[in-house]
Chain length 525, copies 2
């Protein structure tokens, strides 16, 4: 499959005239062909105009057609075959098995959203029938459904070149909601992006949908992304990336004449609490599980366990020792980009040089041009509480152990944490009271609480919350993974006393779409 | 009942030392006793700290207790008796029948939210059971529910001193969600606010809830409100008022180290489309209904019909003539405050002096110190499209008729409208095609679409949407009226593999709260 090095605007290949980007193989540091010239401001506007034109027709598609379209994207991605995996390996340094798994997840995610579209929960149909005899005033017939917001800008992440990128969760949920999507392709994997973008293009063509349902733009620097978010036709933004990048888009979105929602998934250090009984009973086993989670994807997971909190004592010492041994034995993995590697080195350097922090283990150096040398550090609760910068995310396989005086101090550390995607409890039966005392604090801090597992590994399902209070995300009321992600791109509309012929189909008498409805406040499944 | 002229911070009466506010009887222009000294920054912080302390205990209340508390607030408001109505009449100039009706609506709203709390839809329980045998990887048990965001700041509106004020829709839905509430009382009706605030205080005491669940602060100027929104303990904001006021709070909320959601209901001119067959068949009747809606509450409804759009011709001329006669016969009603009266006079003055606008009728002047003299104006679609300032809300009983060349131009005008709370179609059977062509445009513009009614009158029920795209509100994904308003103050949390003893009760096996659940994506009513 030949890569053309172009942006995809509707059905057209467009070679922009902006600054070029080029993927770099992070294992070797060598730049890959082809170059991707950046789109221009006029091309951003062109993609937005096509999306605007496509919106009404696309949002009016029947659930069956829209669901089939999502499934077709999945099939087209699979049809690319090994070319996709090989290009993604070259662009990201991630191993084959991981990328094959991620492709499965990406396609499974598209198919899940197809089933979500068919089931119709996203419509949130509510019907309050007319009460013509009511005193002192009659009630009109009132019916509600959700409609899509409009064209959505999606910013792919570097760390999941398939599952959080061109046809990843943001795109899948926005398309499922009925929103056209314009993706700003991540500069770290433009070839992978072009391949997946063409798969979406093909599915649009085969489904007979308007071309403006999808565009993919490349651009070096921030101009293209900022122009996209500022365009009046864009009605919402999905983003996965750094805190700096996310907050910059939030500012742009709020400064528009019409502000729009930004769903930015940004930064999380994912505290793990080792409760006393669990630590005593299975400290060595916990150390092993912890380091395996820490090293997953060279630590480049949003849910990487960057913080371990426990009461100081011989059990914690033993855990740290076992974890240190595992870290020291950790093979270096190639990081995603030279920039991420630099940032990791700096972050680890800040920890190493902080006189309140002890470096207890570093992993292997390896031979990659951009290796992630794992790191384990220890500090006290007192110092952690006094130094807010110790909460800064170090993106990569580094983690900080916090030694607390007692469970009260464990809770104090928990209460001072910033917003998180996850919080993990390692607990045994005897830890139940300690866990109960922590739970209300952790609920206020994180979108997902887990017991006796590790935070890496985010299931794509209905109950998942991949979100959390700021700065984990920009909007704690939402999730970017799982079927509830669709609600980010919808808003309710109420129809009062509309004649049957004018009522949207899912709201008509007899429930023609067979969806779950709230009638007079009572749920009809 | 003696008014004390104090802020209510938890269970304490607090006489601040800030600038005083004093209600003015708008019918006479005379200031009313007592004076309400403004709260200080320290008192804002004190109320926020009490709210923070109350949060975990309050959010942990069982649905029955929380529901009874909401019902008790309603009973306590009713128990104030006629003192409340008389004080509200003096402070707002609104007539007795309207305020008695509004009290009924306010108490009915609290009781609706009690039923909503009991029904448990707001929990959005989702369960994806463990799949230990799944290949290649097992699935952990995943369960989701909604939890409240935290303490909420509520800014009451001037135009509904009961239903959108101290114990109005924002407060009722936030308390229903499990959030403590701090109300910044509207300076136009402090006495009414104190009376209702004491009713909430009593209900808290009788329910055995922590005092910090509710506080009521007064303050002249914007400092107190801004300090409240900036306080790190506040987690969301409900506001009903002007576009300037709402956007100022949005900026403050976004500029915090941790940005928070602001639900501001701001500005809407509520277009009414007179479709040809309806206009022909019943123009005179429409004129009558239109002017009745226009005059409701001296035009001081968020859903006031400030724009009428139709195709030019003898039928529209007849409508305008009949509406003009009705406007000319309209008795002047007292406006809510001197400030609102000034703004209305200025807004009407801008229309009168605009050479693209014809003034076709003004109502009676009356003898009130602050009368609303109704106004009807006409312009052409061409001029309306060319002058964006003609879309500015004139808060009061003034409306602008847009003469269009044809239905295509009607749609063009619709497409250029800013976001609205409502859009109304007056239509007969023969208008169905014209209505169908307008509907997709109007869905993108408004939160509620209605046929053959008038937008004033917002039912408090499950299917209601009192919301809409900016600038109608700050967040089109929400409603501030009706049971779905509760979702503004909630966020999802996912619990992964938690032992039964640690799982929140509504998520436990056997569905102990008997709520509707989404199990593996399938709805169980």
């Amino acid at each position: 499959m030949t890569l053309r090095g172009v942006s995809l605007i509707g059905r057209q290949d467009v070679r922009g005239t902006g600054g070029e980007i080029r993927a770099i193989d992070p294992a070797t540091g060598i730049a890959l062909e082809p170059a991707y010239p950046g789109a221009t401001a006029a091309e951003v506007a062109q993609a937005c105009e096509l999306a605007r034109q496509a919106f009404d027709a696309y949002r009016d598609t029947a659930p069956t057609l829209r669901a089939k379209f999502l499934e077709m994207i999945a099939s087209e991605i699979e049809a690319i075959g090994d070319d996709l995996i090989e290009r993604a390996m070259a662009e990201t340094g991630l191993p084959r098995a991981r990328l094959e798994g991620e492709r499965g997840r990406t396609c499974g995610q598209l198919r899940l959203f197809a089933s979500v579209v068919r089931a119709g929960e996203w419509l949130d149909v509510r019907i309050d029938p007319a009460l013509p005899e009511r005193e002192p005033m009659p009630r009109a017939d009132l019916r509600q459904r959700h409609i899509p917001l409009g064209p959505v800008a999606v910013f792919g992440a570097s760390n999941f070149p398939l599952a959080f990128s061109v046809a990843g969760g943001d795109t899948a949920s926005a398309l499922a909601a009925g929103c056209p999507v314009i993706v700003k392709g991540h500069s770290a994997h433009p070839g992978t992006s072009e391949l997946v973008g063409r798969a979406v293009q093909k599915a649009i063509k085969r489904s007979g949908l308007p071309e403006g349902v999808f565009s993919l733009l490349f651009g070096s620097g921030n101009e293209i992304g900022q122009a996209l978010v500022a365009d009046p036709r864009i009605q919402a933004v999905g983003f996965t990336g750094s805190r700096g990048g996310g907050t910059a888009l939030m500012r742009t979105a709020q400064a528009r004449p019409q502000p729009i929602p930004v769903y930015a998934e940004m930064s999380s250090i994912n505290p793990v609490f080792l409760l006393p009984e669990a630590l005593r009973a299975r400290g060595a086993q916990l150390a092993e599980g912890f380091v395996a989670s820490l090293n997953m994807g060279a630590g480049q997971f949003c849910t990487n366990p960057g913080l371990v909190i426990a009461v100081k004592g011989p059990e914690l010492d033993a855990f740290v020792e076992a974890a240190s041994d595992a870290v020291k034995a950790s093979a270096a993995q190639t990081m995603l980009t030279p920039g991420i590697h630099d940032a990791y080195e700096q972050g680890v350097g800040r920890l190493s040089s902080n006189d309140k922090v002890r470096e207890v283990a570093r992993g292997q150096v390896g031979e990659s041009a951009h290796p992630c040398q794992a790191g384990l550090f220890v500090t006290t609760a007192q110092d952690f509480l006094a130094e807010p910068e110790l909460q800064e995310e170090v993106f990569g396989a580094a983690s900080l152990v916090i030694e607390c005086a007692d469970q009260a101090q464990v809770r104090q550390v928990a209460a001072q944490l910033e917003g998180q995607l996850t919080a993990t409890l390692q607990m045994d039966d005897g830890d139940l009271d300690a866990a109960k005392a922590l739970l209300p604090i952790l609920e206020r801090k994180a979108g997902r609480l887990l017991a006796n597992g590790w935070p890496t590994g985010v299931e794509v399902c209905h109950a998942m919350v991949h979100g959390g209070p700021f700065p984990a995300t920009s909007d704690s009321r939402t999730t970017s993974v799982g079927s509830a992600a669709i609600f980010r791109f919808l808003r309710p509309v109420c129809y009062q006393a509309l004649p049957e012929g004018l009522l949207p189909e899912p709201l008509r008498d007899g429930n023609p779409w067979g969806v779950s409805r709230l009638v007079d406040g009572k749920r009809e499944a």
